[in-house]
């Protein structure tokens, strides 16, 4: 379980929140603190006050994959293969193992054809897929995704969802503005002005949001 207690950081003010294993979608208005919450869970930000613990450990002691909402801010290296290999190289994995795992990950993501391309020349969606591959290649315990799906077509987003649902990653925390995507996760946290206003299963949270812009259109249309 990821436990947040007396968390205060920038706009965030969350007295207590428990995130169970599985896929948790964080939704809410722009500026409500979604990215800040994700950064605290990933260990990228140290909270000003309070604690975040992942199964009893600091996020910085936990294997974490992170995809930034700004696609260009994910990129450190020149080629796709080097970018995806980088988390393994930092862990001093053998060259043979790195080559095999990079090719496998690119294959799983359906982007093996991009292997030798320069990342800077890719489309926004392709950059996100590369960042996702780099985040997944070292089998993280926690995968944190900030609006990765706003750059992907529906087919790609579904394929990524299947990978996330494969059960290999204990915790997936993702921010999305696609309510239909949020409805497919295990739980939803709805943030507003830095506070976790609603938290629970998708039906529970969306029943509280009925009549708001955040209520899925597909539910309104009965599709």
């Amino acid at each position: 379980m990821i436990s947040l207690r007396s968390l205060r950081h920038q706009v965030l003010d969350i007295p207590s929140l428990d995130i169970q294993p599985g896929i948790t979608s964080v939704i809410g208005p722009n500026g409500s603190g979604k990215t800040t919450l994700l950064k605290c869970c990933a260990g990228i930000a140290e909270p000003s006050a309070g604690t975040v613990l992942v199964d009893g450990h600091s996020p910085r002691e936990t294997e974490t994959g992170w995809v930034n909402e700004f696609p260009d801010r994910n990129i450190l290296f020149e080629t796709v293969a080097d970018e995806v290999a980088s988390p393994l190289r930092f862990r001093r994995v053998s060259c043979e193992m790195i080559s095999s795992r990079v090719d496998h990950q690119l294959g799983v993501m359906g982007i093996i054809h991009l292997r030798d391309r320069a990342v800077r020349d890719l489309s926004g969606g392709e950059k996100i897929l590369v960042a996702l591959a780099a985040a997944l290649v070292h089998s993280p315990h926690v995968l944190v995704l900030d609006e990765y799906d706003s750059h992907l077509d529906a087919g790609r987003a579904r394929a990524i969802d299947d990978i996330l649902r494969s059960g290999r990653i204990p915790y997936v925390i993702r921010c999305t503005q696609q309510m239909e995507t949020a409805a497919l996760g295990d739980r939803i946290v709805y943030l507003e002005n830095g506070r976790a206003i609603h938290h629970g299963s998708p039906p529970e949270v969306f029943s509280s949001l009925s009549g708001s812009a955040f209520y899925p259109l597909s539910l309104r249309c009965g599709t």
Partner: protein, 230 residues
Amino acid sequence: MRVELDDVCMSREGWSLSAQGIFTEGIHLVSGDTGSGKTTLALLLAGLLPPSSGTVCREGISSLMVSFQFPEYHVTGATIRDECISWGIDPTGVLTAANLRDRQDLSPLKLSRGELKRLHLACVLARDYDLLVLDEPFSSLDCREKERVCSAISRRTTGITVIFTHEQMQFPRVDYIWEIARGSLHNRGSVPGALEAWEHAPDIIKKLIARGKVPENITPSDLLEAACRT
């Protein structure tokens, strides 16, 4: 007023895009898979990228604006207020509309990505252009902001507006549907007739059509009207 693509081709190793067609006045929606060439086509339409072969001809267009997929690429002002001024617009109205007036002295890069997109689109939509190219205008916007931006786009009654998007739920009223499939740009025609041929149509539209309920257009209210139709 029109943009004509005549036997246009863009290619690089292992990838190509061919495009033929005329964009007339109205709101055009262009969809396509990730990496299919939507941004490339947006740059071609705007004249920011020359085609490998063929011609792009803009007729009767005296003002043009491109909104890039990444709002951070547009930032030139040191503060939010300066950013508005750099677009040649009065910051007061725009910042009030974008609900950012109390933060006008902050750097735009201190905003969340959704807020930065909101600021950027408020600046873009504050003026009328003969040709307005919007590359993924809804990405990063929350559901309320998508509604607001869709309303603003729907109100454009003159000029050519071309929207490139992956969005699946929130759309403005559109006049024409195009899509990139199998390396080529396809004109699916005017809405609602175009909807049945639209390969990249969102699931919700496909499901409504399968029930024999073809929406008049693709705004949320059109989809709700179709869903409730007896």
